[in-house]
């Protein structure tokens, strides 16, 4: 039994409800089993681009346990392909994506045949014996190949590979550049990444022909979305589909999507009338999970003599992969990468063009931060180039250009972003103080004389969190972006909160329980959370774009307030006073004369069991539902500043991370223990992007580093301690005032590491532009600079 909290909001409460995970009592999808369960192994396409000529299946049935071998045309009879062409996205075209390849396969790893067996091992043995006769087709793999005039179409439905073309800002920004005292320019390269959840994707689908109901257990962020997807693709009533996300072992955007192979599992279950399980193995995860971030960019910035930005002109080319990722498309990353360039700053004239290119690689999709890490890295590198050209300190350059105070009434930026209020000045001031910036600069100068190359990197960011219907609706995406809370007072005085918000480890559910407990002044373990189940929760979004507390928290707060009002009416009748005289302490009503002894349990017992005893002659509702989506803004913008201190060995190309600081403003912090480690975890993923992670493809589109030994993610020994600070500017869009925080670390860290590296290399005349900044790329930059200086 935990102690009661005097105030739920702001207390660093440990996540007691998650203790079972530390004791090995998690219940992830692969931990679930049921009678008659069958298992799937897929035969996947071996080429980047190919045509299936013939499939020979008979040999697979030699394996004991194999019960079915299913190909694309079998599923086509009961399941339509994904059609991912949101109506509101300009110039967007994508080919239909069937659950299993029917004729043409467009990336290595695309699922072609499903072998169904009584065990996964038997299914894999059967898959080995399926023979697919292929016609290998020419492929376009890199962005350069895809955009070349003579490019091979990645999908034969099209003549070229352009899948998105859009412009943010003005048609013409040439005046700003013509009148500039300084113009700086750079190109940028971002390697293709993937989210690498430690628990791979997994799904169990059970179509029960007796009840004609489809039950799905899936490692996923958005069960409600998946209910609609499966119903649509299989032609079922959404009411006959139930999707449950049990414990989820990391998601990071990767589990936001509807994958073709998962649709195939559901369709196989529908076809066979049996429960079917499929767990992605690590190689399949690398080759068939959503990829992200692959982009090239060029950016120019115009400046006045003092360093004020006069204009930005940018072009972003993004690699979309073979299909638009269902159902939200692949355009989000490219669009945000372009639109959010320069977001923290008053940029004057602005133009950013974005082009999306179809490639013979897996579809790109959402990964923590969605385009914002790219925009931030471009912006911050440009700011440092500008500071150097103008001859001012990078801190001063940022300070004089921040968009911290918006003109009254003007919330839209030159790029069309809607920003309510920023606190970048205050974040930077606090950060500079925490890191002792001037001392670090002095130390850096002294060490350079001794051949030690240290770098100080800064990255300011604006992040769009709690994204609501105002964004998705106009794009034509049928995604519910509200978050809901159904709060029930139980007869024993405890509360049940069924929420549309889902939790993949962020701790959102614990924080919601804490928030609700604070509203009633009861212990958080008196609030039972229900989530991740379309059969038991109110309709709503789930988890993406840092919405759990910003939107779900507001819904919970409003439901709590409405519940309390009803209870206070009953209590006021009993205590013969006004409801406005009442408050709650330790789960009991405090009246005008102090503690009344009237507990929540007693009021609940009257309402549930003896309504005739209510002094009102009736009882208030014991279940209150509230749903929230921001209505005055499309999303809630948060902001912050990162700084990293590194040391580069110019002989080895290695980078040592010495220290890291972040000051973040996510508005009201409900639980700092959870928020701080969200920031740290996000930063570590951003460091992984900057230094290690890249999906490496051969020229002919073969994935070449498909194990966790070859695709390197951050390890504990390489990571620095991360100092977290906060500035608190509650959003005016909600009563709670919380903004999102889940992506803030990942958005800023790649930019901070990039600027730190270029700062460290500047005395050598070297500069890196291609992420990840591996030792060999750093060495190449150093050697190129040495050659140029000779």
């Amino acid at each position: 039994m935990t102690e009661k909290t005097t105030n739920g909001i702001g207390a660093p409460l440990p996540r007691e409800s998650a203790r079972r995970l530390a004791e090995g009592r998690g219940r992830y999808v692969d931990d679930i089993t049921m009678p008659g369960l069958l298992h799937i192994a897929f035969v996947r396409a071996p080429f980047a681009h190919g045509r299936v000529l013939k499939i020979e299946k008979d040999d697979a049935f030699e394996v004991c346990g194999v019960v079915a071998v299913i190909e694309g045309k079998d599923l086509a009879e009961i399941c339509v392909p994904y059609d991912t062409n949101p109506t509101g996205v300009p110039n967007h075209v994508s080919a239909p994506q069937p659950p299993l390849v029917v004729d043409e396969s467009c990336f290595q790893g695309e699922a072609v045949v499903a072998v169904v067996a009584t065990s996964r091992a038997a299914a894999e043995d059967g898959a080995e014996l399926v023979f697919v006769d292929w016609d290998e087709l020419p492929a376009s793999c890199s962005i350069e190949e895809a955009q070349a005039d003579s490019a091979v179409p990645a999908h034969t439905n099209f003549d070229d590979n352009l899948t998105l073309k859009h412009r943010f800002g003005a048609v013409d920004v040439s005046d700003a550049f013509a009148n500039a005292a300084h113009v700086v320019e750079s190109n940028f390269d971002f390697g293709r990444q993937t989210g690498v959840t430690l628990e791979p994707r997994g799904i169990i689908a059970h179509w029960d022909p007796r009840t004609e109901e489809l039950e799905v257990w899936q490692s996923h962020q958005v069960p409600w979305q998946m209910r609609e997807v499966y119903a649509t693709q299989l032609g079922l009533s959404p009411q006959s589909v139930r999707v449950t996300a049990p414990d989820v072992g990391g998601a990071f955007g990767l589990k936001l999507h509807a994958y073709a192979d998962e649709l195939a599992v559901v369709a196989v279950s529908k076809l066979m009338g049996r429960p079917v399980k499929y767990i992605v193995d690590r190689l399949e995860a690398f080759t068939a999970d959503a990829h992200a971030r692959e982009a090239r960019a060029i950016c120019r910035m115009a400046l006045d003599p003092q360093g004020h930005i006069l204009g930005i002109d940018a072009r972003v080319d993004a690699g979309f992969g073979a299909y638009a990722m269902h159902p939200r498309g692949s355009f989000g990353e490219a669009m945000q990468a372009a639109q959010m360039i320069g977001a923290p700053y008053k940029v004057g004239a602005f133009r950013a063009e974005v082009f999306g290119w179809r490639q013979n690689k897996p579809p790109s999709g959402a990964y923590r931060g969605v385009g914002q890490p790219i925009a931030c890295a471009i912006t911050e590198d440009m700011i440092d180039l500008a500071a150097s050209a103008v001859g001012i300190d990078p801190v001063e350059m940022r300070r004089i250009n921040y968009r911290s105070t918006l003109d009254e009434g003007a919330r839209a930026t030159e790029a069309g972003l809607v920003i309510e209020e920023l606190s970048l000045d205050r974040c930077l001031a606090k950060l500079i103080n925490a890191m002792d910036y001037d001392r670090l600069r002095a130390e850096q100068t002294a060490l350079r004389g001794k051949g030690v190359y240290r770098g100080i990197g800064l990255a300011s960011f604006v992040e769009l969190t709690g994204v609501g219907a105002g964004l998705y609706g106009p794009l034509g995406l049928t995604v519910a972006a509200n978050e809901a809370c159904r709060l029930t007072l139980q007869p024993d005085g405890s509360l049940t909160c069924a929420t549309s918000v889902t939790d993949q480890g962020q701790g959102t559910l614990s924080a919601l329980a804490q928030l609700i407990a604070g509203e009633f002044d009861i212990a958080p373990d008196k609030v039972r959370m229900i989530a991740g189940d379309t059969g038991r929760t109110p309709y709503g979004g789930g988890a993406w774009a840092s919405r759990g507390m910003a939107l779900g928290g507001e819904a919970a707060k409003r439901a709590s307030e409405r519940m309390r009002e009803g209870l206070f009416e009953v209590a006021a009748g009993i205590l013969q006073c006004e409801p406005s005289d009442l408050s709650l302490a330790n789960g009991a009503v405090v009246g005008p004369k102090g503690p009344s002894g009237l507990t929540l349990a007693e009021i609940a017992a009257i309402c549930h069991y003896r309504p005739y005893d209510s002094p009102l002659g009736k009882v208030p509702q014991m279940t209150i539902e509230e749903s929230f989506v921001p209505s005055d803004v499309p999303y809630i913008a948060s902001n912050g500043v990162h700084a990293v201190h590194i040391e580069v060995d110019p002989d080895l190309g290695t980078v040592m991370l010495l220290d890291y600081w972040v000051v973040d403003d996510c508005g009201t912090v409900v639980n700092p223990l959870l928020v701080d480690e969200q920031l740290r975890g996000g930063i570590v993923q951003g460091i992984g992007a900057a230094l290690y992670e890249e999906c490496l493809y051969s020229e002919d589109g073969q994935f070449t580093n498909g194990t966790l030994a070859d695709y390197v993610v951050p390890m504990a020994c390489e990571m620095p301690d991360i100092h977290v600070g906060h500035v608190t500017t509650p959003t005016r869009s909600t009563g709670l005032g919380a903004k999102g925080v889940g992506e803030a670390g990942t958005v800023g860290a790649p930019g901070a590491v990039r600027t730190a590296l270029n700062d460290a290399l500047s005395p050598l005349g070297a500069r890196v532009t291609q992420q990840p900044f591996t030792a060999s790329r750093i060495l190449e930059a150093v050697m190129a600079a040495e050659a140029a200086n000779k």
């Binding site: 440990p14 996540r15 007691e16 998650a18 203790r19 995970l21 530390a22 004791e23 090995g24 009592r25 998690g26 219940r27 992830y28 692969d30 931990d31 004991c64 091992a121 690498v196 959840t197 430690l198 628990e199 791979p200 414990d247 989820v248 072992g249 990391g250 998601a251 990071f252 193995d281 690590r282 993949q504 480890g505 962020q506 701790g507 223990l673 959870l674 480690e677 920031l679 740290r680 975890g681 996000g682 930063i683 570590v684 993923q685 194990t707 966790l708 030994a709 993610v713 951050p714 390890m715 504990a716 020994c717 390489e718 990571m719 301690d721 991360i722 670390g745």
Partner: protein, 161 residues
């Protein structure tokens, strides 16, 4: 498919199971013996999510063939409640918010338990080194380092209990 009957001790109890010669210990524990606290992450011995104790040492259960454990003593996270070091670690992990999704946590705790058995007072660098064979994708590792450090203090303070 060749099968062997093997006997070993699982969490203090003798068990006899048939094990396919090509199967690994992780799958045996999870699918034949219902011990789902051991997680399979990378299947290449890199991530450490599948770490279990074999004769008092941490092994990767995805790299250990099931038939190799005949006669061995195997301990998984489910048994660990009877071990004071593990309980101290679990308490510290909760207190420090040293896990999020929890998928890496059982393997991480196995590694930390082995570290604390060998080094009762590890410094932060030693902790970071020791857990570098355990990948966590959610936390920034810092809370894990602090939790292991806290658990070491608790165990030292109560060494004579």
């Amino acid at each position: 498919m060749p099968e062997d009957t093997i006997r070993f001790t699982l969490n203090g109890r003798e068990v006899t199971v048939s094990a396919r010669s090509r199967g690994h210990l992780g799958d045996l524990l999870r699918y034949e013996l219902g011990q789902t606290g051991t997680h399979i992450g990378c299947e290449h011995g890199v991530c450490g999510a599948c770490n279990v104790m074999m004769n008092g040492r941490v092994v990767r259960s995805c790299l250990t063939l099931a038939v190799q454990i005949a006669g061995a003593e195997i301990e998984t996270i489910e048994h660990a409640r009877s071990d004071r070091s593990t309980v101290a670690l679990q308490n510290a992990f909760v207190a420090r918010n040293a896990f999020q999704c929890g998928y890496c946590t059982p393997g991480m705790i196995m590694t930390a338990r082995e570290l604390l058995a060998e080094n009762a007072a590890p410094c932060r660098e030693e902790i970071r080194d020791a857990i570098s064979g355990n990948l966590c994708r959610c936390t920034g590792y810092q809370a894990i380092v602090e939790a292991i450090s806290d658990a070491a203090v608790t165990l030292r303070e109560h060494a004579d209990d």
